[in-house]
Symmetry: C2
Subunit: 194 residues, 2 copies
């Protein structure tokens, strides 16, 4: 696939992730690249196909990063930290990707199933990791899957819900972001502690 196809995919990922799927038109994607809509339809024969491809790409990127974080770091809460660090970096550098994640879960149709399928093994691993740590006493006991859902929600929410941050008068600078990160880590650590 030549470079145009990739550029289209990037742009689609960005716009689907920020403005939403329905709110993004093929014309808008094409225009952003200085290209005609029919060129987009040449590479991706329908809008749905383009969405699927964007999801696949986003899932792969997330999977790679999270996989490395899950495998590389040490035991116990350190590994939780490592995962959160990764997600937080995504939130800062590629917010549209996390936005797409949320968008997909909102669309709820086949797209979500697809994404779920791709991230499933990762989630299983994370859940069983939590379970083991609970056994070992490193983490407060509870339902591992539910705890995972909680941590996921907290991290994703903080990362994507800019509207709430505006409403709370939280400034949008690097320093503020660093404080938010520290606060998030402390909160999750405390929430998981035995």
């Amino acid at each position: 696939m030549a470079r145009t196809g990739d550029r289209i995919l990037d742009e689609a990922l960005a716009q689907f992730g920020t403005r939403g799927y329905e709110a993004t038109s093929l014309d808008a994607i094409a225009a952003a690249l200085g290209v005609r809509k029919q060129t987009v339809l040449y590479w991706y024969p329908s809008k749905q196909t383009l969405l699927d491809a964007a999801i696949a790409r986003g899932a792969e990127e997330l999977h790679l990063a999270l996989d490395a974080a899950l495998g590389g770091a040490g035991p116990g809460l350190d590994r939780v930290d490592a995962v959160m660090r990764v997600v937080f970096r995504f939130a800062v550098r590629r917010p549209e990707l996390l936005g797409l994640l949320r968008e997909v879960s909102r669309l709820g149709d086949t797209a979500a199933v697809d994404l779920g399928g791709r991230l499933q093994p990762l989630l299983d691993r994370a859940a069983s990791f939590l379970g083991e740590e609970m056994e070992a006493g490193t983490i407060r006991r509870g339902d591992a899957r539910l705890v995972l859902l909680l941590v996921y929600s907290a991290v994703l929410g903080v990362s994507t819900d800019l509207g709430a941050q505006r409403a709370l008068d939280i400034p949008a600078g690097v320093a503020s972001l660093a404080r938010l990160r520290r606060e998030l880590f402390a909160f999750v650590r405390a929430g998981l502690a035995p």
Copy 2:
């Protein structure tokens, strides 16, 4: 305003909150009520007007419930529990309302400003409450606004992100919901504890 106007508002709130603003057409809202699109446009002269009204209604409903919870309950973490209980009840009984909240923050335009303005005093109260409790030593010290953002994200995320729950194989029954609630309460309590 006669009954039709209210029915339209309810339906709009529901559809905007679940399917999203752009994905919802005036025709769809009208059809769901067995009415013509022009009747919708009679009560609300434009789609944007309808969105504004839906947001105002949702904000009022949330405000009433949260205001009561903030005022009524006891001190310390009990009050946090009370607020979470309210939000959780919304998540179960009126999920579309929380969905609208999230949708608005995604739209990000004037709508968000409007909603932010309406809920601002409530957020201020919540933040200053957290601050006082930190002073009193009931809650772990930290930036009250950031902590509020965290709790908000965790609760809203759990309440709305059904896609993630599906991906995690979390069943969708009353019993499972109750367990999720318990887990959420324990998580937040532990996350806030000194």
